[in-house]
């Protein structure tokens, strides 16, 4: 493969253009609110379609309420997803930054936009969200960056998710043109009642139609016209006469539609949906000619289109991204995409697999820069993008030039959304280090596809290993690569508060013979610790001892003081049944209580619920 290095005119231009900005504080990031949203859309659309990648970055109102709610190293992908889901359902996105960008040699050409969002209930239907939670520390941090909450709340762009949009369509009761899907081809045998119904409606329609066409010729007194209208049940639909036919069942809808086919030369049937779903009535609209008929159909389409656009709001942008099918680059993809899914697609599914399937339909390729980082070496997961960039700068020579041809809105307050540009920059650096170079991109699309595919759609991964993790593994809590089976993990709680891991370890050491072998202790939060046994099987011995009467010695003393233990499966149950108490100890107690309750009711624990055996985690220094 010969790299086709072009002495690109762009490169030359970049030396003289003043849009090249290396200082992040001067990046011209276009700030979008309700006022300039519509006018910016087409521009954004163009940038999206001409870009190679799209970076996204969110600013939310919070992330985790208690220390243990944070996605941590002892989580399996499944529990990590449940934690992310819990956060995504409660908190709100206030800023959504997107940045379509191109990679050219060592240059990133980026078009960053920062959207200010606010979930306004514009339709008075409790959508897009009835309420949301804010964490004061998040708001305070945003305030420190000079965030303007007034702009956000007064002028933020609202939105509806795909799922909400479809319910709204029904709820608004707009007449829908009949497409062929709703016309059922198979007409079942007509009963007498059906025939009577059809004939009655047919004669009404006929009368009405004749009257309408007649009145075009005759000139009648106004009173007569209005009387006629009342008698015949005619109305106006826009400028055209129409007639509403009430129906009681979906079957009658079909019958009416079938009957109206006989008048298809001039009548256009519309379906008026009922509020609670289903059909309330069929409306027949009289058109004067074939031409007029097409005109009506077009009118209906544009009306619907405009209305949908108004309802969708910011989701228009999400739809553009989704339609482009471009790879999306994110920094903390599990967190960001649970938010995106729950706010803009549909409510989050109950488990990770369904989530990934559902997300893939909308966004086929999601690349997490954190995951790319792992290929470079045993880097700790870096939560701070700037720190990561600095780290790479020290270790690798991969200069990346940022070109931002955008013109930021002049005279506007603070510029927000720098992270999204940093993500572009970081991604550019990583690509150049990992040799997913733009030359390769130009030479072969397939190559790019496979190179990118290798990194795509991994939402949660083990540090230091590049294969996708399974639900049997949890990773360690630092860079130690020893793996530990979930089976060897025991959660301990019920000791006095504010105890340190060291003291707890000391206390345990002499308490029972299982602690004679190597084991490690780590605090999860103030109320709960996890113990990892070095030798397989000991955790079960320990749990059995804790539950038996034979518990003796110092351990008995501790148990009498309230010490409790449970295996990893209890923790999984805590997450899956949503017991998000502020202290993990309380949550585990609740999970045990409800479990006991079920077993008392002779509820057999499903075999699959016992996750023990081959789950692995990586273990850290302790």
């Amino acid at each position: 493969m010969v790299p086709k290095f072009k002495p690109s005119p762009l490169r030359i231009r970049s030396f003289c253009t003043k849009t090249v900005q290396q200082n992040p504080h001067h990046w011209p990031i276009k700030q979008i609110t309700k006022t300039n949203f519509n006018e910016s859309l087409s521009e954004i659309k163009n940038h999206i379609s001409s870009s190679d990648f799209i970076a996204v970055s969110l600013q939310n109102t919070g992330s985790f309420s208690s220390p243990w709610h944070r996605v941590s190293t002892f989580d399996t992908p499944e529990t990590a997803y449940l934690k992310a889901k819990f956060a995504a359902e409660r908190f709100q996105i206030l800023q959504f930054a997107i940045c379509p960008f191109k990679l050219q040699a060592s240059k990133v050409i980026a078009y960053p936009y920062n959207f200010h969002l606010f979930p306004r209930d514009e339709l008075k239907m409790g959508m897009p969200s009835y309420s949301f939670t804010c964490q004061t520390s998040y708001l305070t941090a945003m305030a420190k960056e000079g965030f303007d909450f007034n702009t956000c709340i007064y002028d933020g762009i609202s939105y509806l998710s795909e799922a909400q949009e479809s319910t709204v369509k029904v709820r608004m009761g707009n007449p829908m043109a009949v497409d062929h899907a709703t016309k059922s081809s198979s007409s079942p045998a007509l009963s007498v009642a059906d025939t009577v119904f059809i004939e009655r409606v047919r004669s009404r329609v006929k009368h009405w139609k004749n009257a309408c066409t007649d009145s075009d010729i005759k000139t009648e007194a106004a009173l007569v016209t209005s009387l006629r209208k009342i008698v015949l049940g005619g109305e106006q639909f826009g400028s055209r006469p129409s007639m509403t036919i009430d129906v009681c069942s979906e079957r009658q809808v079909q019958l009416v539609l079938k009957m109206l086919e006989d008048f298809s030369d001039v009548l256009v049937p519309l379906i008026i949906p009922a509020k609670g779903g289903g059909t309330q009535a069929v409306r027949a609209v009289l058109t004067s000619s074939d031409e007029d008929k097409h005109l009506l159909k077009r009118e209906l389409q544009t009306f619907e289109f405009e209305q949908n656009k108004r309802v969708r709001g910011f989701r228009e942008v999400i739809d553009l991204i989704s339609a482009s099918q471009k790879p999306i680059v994110a920094h903390n993809s599990l967190n960001d995409f649970t938010f995106i899914h729950s706010k803009f697609l549909a409510p989050l599914p109950p488990n990770m697999n369904e989530f990934i399937c559902s997300l893939r339909l909308a966004f086929p390729q999601v690349i997490d820069v954190n995951y790319l980082l792992k290929d470079i070496g045993p880097v700790k997961k870096m939560t701070n993008i700037s720190a990561t960039i600095a780290y790479l700068k020290n270790r690798f020579f991969a200069p990346i030039e940022m070109e931002i041809p955008n013109q930021a809105n002049e005279n506007e307050g603070k510029i927000h959304g720098h992270n999204v540009v940093k993500i572009c920059q970081l991604f550019g650096k990583l690509c150049s280090i990992l040799k997913i170079t733009p030359d390769a991109i130009e030479s072969s699309d397939d190559f790019l596809a496979s190179a990118i595919n290798r990194y795509a759609n991994i939402f949660y991964s083990l540090p230091g290993s590049s294969q996708e993790p399974t639900n049997e593994e949890i990773r360690g809590w630092t860079n130690d690569k020893r793996k530990v089976s979930c089976e060897d993990v025991v959660f301990l709680w019920g000791f006095r508060e504010r105890i340190s891991a060291g003291i707890l370890k000391n206390m345990l050491q002499g308490s029972h013979e299982v602690f004679a072998e190597a084991f490690n202790v780590r605090m999860v939060d103030r109320s709960c610790a996890i113990v990892v046994f070095g030798k397989p099987g000991l955790s079960n011995t320990f749990k059995n001892v804790m539950n038996s009467k034979e518990v003796s010695g110092p351990l008995r003393e501790m148990v009498s003081d309230g010490l409790k233990a449970a295996g990893y499966e209890t923790y999984q149950r805590v997450c899956s049944s949503g017991l998000w108490e502020s202290a993990l100890a309380d949550a585990l107690d609740k999970a045990l209580a409800s479990h006991n309750c079920l077993s008392e009711a002779a509820y057999e624990t499903k075999q699959s619920e016992i996750y023990l055996s081959n789950e692995l985690i990586n273990l850290a220094e302790l």
Partner: protein, 711 residues
């Protein structure tokens, strides 16, 4: 946000044209920067005041549509709903307006204060993060009235509740009590784990050498009487010789926490006359020092001194973060008459934000509120329960802004139009920052300070109509003890919706008597033991269908009413209490036997889909008491952990609490439906069919106008 917002939206829409002027009502806005000075002046004003009017703005009212207030709220359920609201939402603005009668000017002087408050996590306490809920409609509503969110979040005054303060102080106490113990443990830890590796041992040796060198030099110098050699300070400035409490000491800079721990270990192990201390230096960052000490007793003394200092510092910072609570403490300690408008929720907020967690029952809540605030008066009750005032109000709405414009037109318009004041009217002057004015433009409604001012004016005028003569009222006498007011003091609307009033001093509940003739809707008396709550039924069933379905089984007179809690749940009120258990028994047996007979049963329509659950009113209460708030009731029941489908009433003897284990599943996951149905009032069944003809907007409109008339 007041409970009354949906009504006022509509009201505003008609009246906003008159208030859209650039309002320059004299109001003292208090933020972080001017809080201390404002507090000290407010202290004097409150002490001198005859009464203090208050008003709060919140980030929301109901955490889910089904938590809105209904006719079907028993008082304990009503309290749970208020409790939930006060616990979840934040107070972002607090209006305090002390009113004092000025005998010289023959008018009231008031000092309206508008506090922006925002609770920040200022103390380094771990545990749950501070968070609060925002109801989107409320935020939007506040935005409509130009609420300044930036002032609130950037510059709002923070606060600590009494409970949070106690906790923080306890934490400080235990920290400084345990310290010796903890450090001993951490020492042991270090010995156990870290000194096995060679780099650590080498580092420790080096530190030991350097410390003995320093110590040697120090002792030599002391003997020779010369200065400490500055040459010891190395290039990196890691060791810096300083004086700590008049003693020579080394300040350690630029070490990692692990290295610091090793140094600490070395000091303890090898140097009897050195002490390792971590002290909070300037700029509140902690500083690690090694101090030279002559003897063990001196060491102890020094340690104690440092510890005490640190403790005092910590306590000071706790005291400093009390913030806005000082105002509440002041109101409570001065025992002044507090005046609010429809203020039960406000009081609940004050309790939960500034005192401590709300008690579990209404009774406990009331008795503790009475302890903190012995005299509260609610202008809404006052206006509704007194016939003289009702006459004055000309049967108009008792919403705050309406009452204000009807009772105090001369104030509402500013004192410009004196010709209007033919009726005896109370004069009110506003004083802000020592500038008095009796002439102003109208303020912005739904700004807490202005609302508090309006409330106070309404109260003053109402008192005058009741025949209270402020000229004869001695300033020492508490207005709350005035015999003309006595019957109104400490009465609050538990629920405006059903006119239930609670007496804070006695705990007695009464239904509103006088005003009831104003209410448009007369509902049959609600007997809670006759009520079944049904949820998770097929979404296409409406109240009418459910009524019909049940009537087929028990006869046309069996069901008194069916009321939508939200899209997914209804209350069914039976005519007799025993029908509740009959119904639940029947439903349970139909669920159990899936034979053709049960399929053909009239109730089968209701049970279709297999997710229909039913239980008595007590279960509803239980669900209300949960801290979870799902938008739909059916989801809520599931989240609360209800796994059965029918909860039989205790009295039924046979199968007690047979638990069907099929999971309750949410019907129709559309969260929006509730919004619409929440406003749908009591279902008269016959009304329902007419509802279905209307568009949703029309329903809401008609509801709003109806409510607006009521309030």
């Amino acid at each position: 946000m007041k409970k009354r917002w949906p009504i006022t939206i509509l009201y505003r829409a008609f009246s906003s044209s008159t208030t859209s002027t650039t309002a320059s009502f004299p109001l003292k806005h208090v933020k972080k920067s001017n809080f201390d000075s404002a507090l000290s002046s407010l202290r004097h004003h409150i002490q001198a005041a005859d009464f203090v009017a208050i008003d709060l703005e919140m980030t929301g009212i109901t955490s889910a549509p089904w938590r809105d207030s209904f006719e079907f709220d028993r008082f304990d359920v009503r309290y749970l709903k208020v409790k939930d609201s006060a616990e979840k939402f934040a107070v972002i603005q607090f209006g305090v307006s002390p009113f004092r009668w000025d005998p010289l000017k023959q008018s009231f002087i008031t000092h309206p204060h508008n506090f922006f408050i925002f609770q920040r996590q200022e103390l380094p306490l771990d545990g749950a993060a501070y968070e609060f809920l925002c109801q989107t409609t409320s935020m939007d509503f506040l935005a409509k009235y130009q609420f300044d969110f930036n002032a609130c979040i950037h510059e709002g005054v923070s606060y600590l509740s009494r409970e949070q303060e106690d906790k923080a102080l306890k934490h400080v106490n235990s920290t400084y009590k345990d310290e010796s113990l903890d450090s001993w443990h951490s020492l042991k830890e270090i010995r156990d784990t870290h000194l096995f590796n060679i780099p650590d041992i080498l580092f420790a040796e080096r530190m030991k050498d350097r410390l003995s060198e320093w110590l040697g030099g120090l002792l030599r110098n002391r003997d020779e009487g010369s200065e400490v050699q500055p040459s010891f300070n190395d290039s990196k400035q890691q060791f810096e010789t300083i004086f700590f409490k008049m003693r020579p000491a080394i300040s350690l800079n630029g070490f990692t926490s692990h290295q610091l721990r090793l140094i600490q270990l070395v000091v303890r192990k090898h140097f009897k006359d050195l002490a390792y201390l971590r002290v909070s230096g300037e700029n509140s960052c902690s500083q690690n020092v090694i101090v030279y000490i002559e003897s063990e007793s001196v060491k102890k003394m020094l340690m104690k001194e440092v510890k005490d200092e640190q403790k005092i510092d910590a306590e000071m910072s706790i005291k400093a973060s009390i913030g806005f609570r000082h105002v509440i403490d002041l109101l409570s300690s001065e025992k002044k008459l507090i005046v609010g408008h429809n203020c039960f929720l406000d009081i609940a907020h004050i309790y939960s934000k500034f005192f401590g967690p709300l008690p579990l029952t209404a009774e406990e809540f009331i008795s503790s509120v009475n302890k903190y605030f012995p005299h509260i008066i609610d202008t809404k009750i006052l206006l509704n329960s007194n016939s003289i005032l009702q006459q004055r109000m000309k049967k108009s709405s008792t919403s705050l802004s309406k009452a204000f414009s009807v009772l105090c037109p001369q104030i509402a318009l500013g004192s410009k139009s004196t010709h209007l004041s033919l009726q005896p009217s109370v004069k009110v002057e506003v004083e802000v920052d020592d500038i008095r004015s009796s002439n102003w433009n109208s303020g912005v409604k739904h700004e807490a300070g202005y609302d508090a001012f309006m409330t106070g004016c309404v109260f003053a005028q109402a008192c005058s109509h009741l025949g209270i003569d402020f000229k004869q009222q001695s300033s020492s006498e508490n207005l709350a003890h005035n015999e003309k007011l006595r019957e109104h003091v400490n009465l609050l609307y538990l629920s405006w919706t059903n006119g239930e009033i609670i007496n804070l001093s006695t705990g007695n509940r009464t239904s509103e008597s006088l005003a009831s003739n104003k209410r448009k809707n007369h509902y049959p008396k609600i007997l809670f033991e006759c009520i079944v709550i049904v949820w998770g039924f097929p979404s296409h069933l409406k109240a009418w269908d459910i009524r019909e379905c049940i009537s087929k089984v028990y006869g046309p007179t069996s069901v008194i009413s069916v009321y939508h809690v939200d899209e997914t749940a209804v209350f069914v009120q039976f005519s007799r209490a025993e029908m509740v258990s009959k119904f639940l028994d029947l439903k349970e047996s139909l669920d159990r036997n899936n034979d053709p007979i049960s399929v053909l049963h009239p109730l089968a329509k209701l049970l279709e889909g297999g997710n229909t659950c039913a239980a008595s009113y007590e279960t509803y209460k239980e669900i209300c008491s949960s801290t979870v708030s799902k938008v739909l009731f059916a989801d809520q029941a599931k989240a609360v952990g209800i796994k059965w489908k029918t909860k039989l009433v205790e009295s039924s003897d046979k199968t007690k609490e047979h638990e069907s284990l099929r999971k309750v599943k949410a019907v129709n996951s559309d969260p929006s439906c509730g919004e619409r149905t929440k406003n749908k009032n009591f279902d008269d069944v016959s009304n329902d069919s007419s509802y279905s003809q209307l568009s949703s907007d029309e329903i809401i409109d008609s509801f709003y106008t109806r409510e607006a008339k009521q309030i």
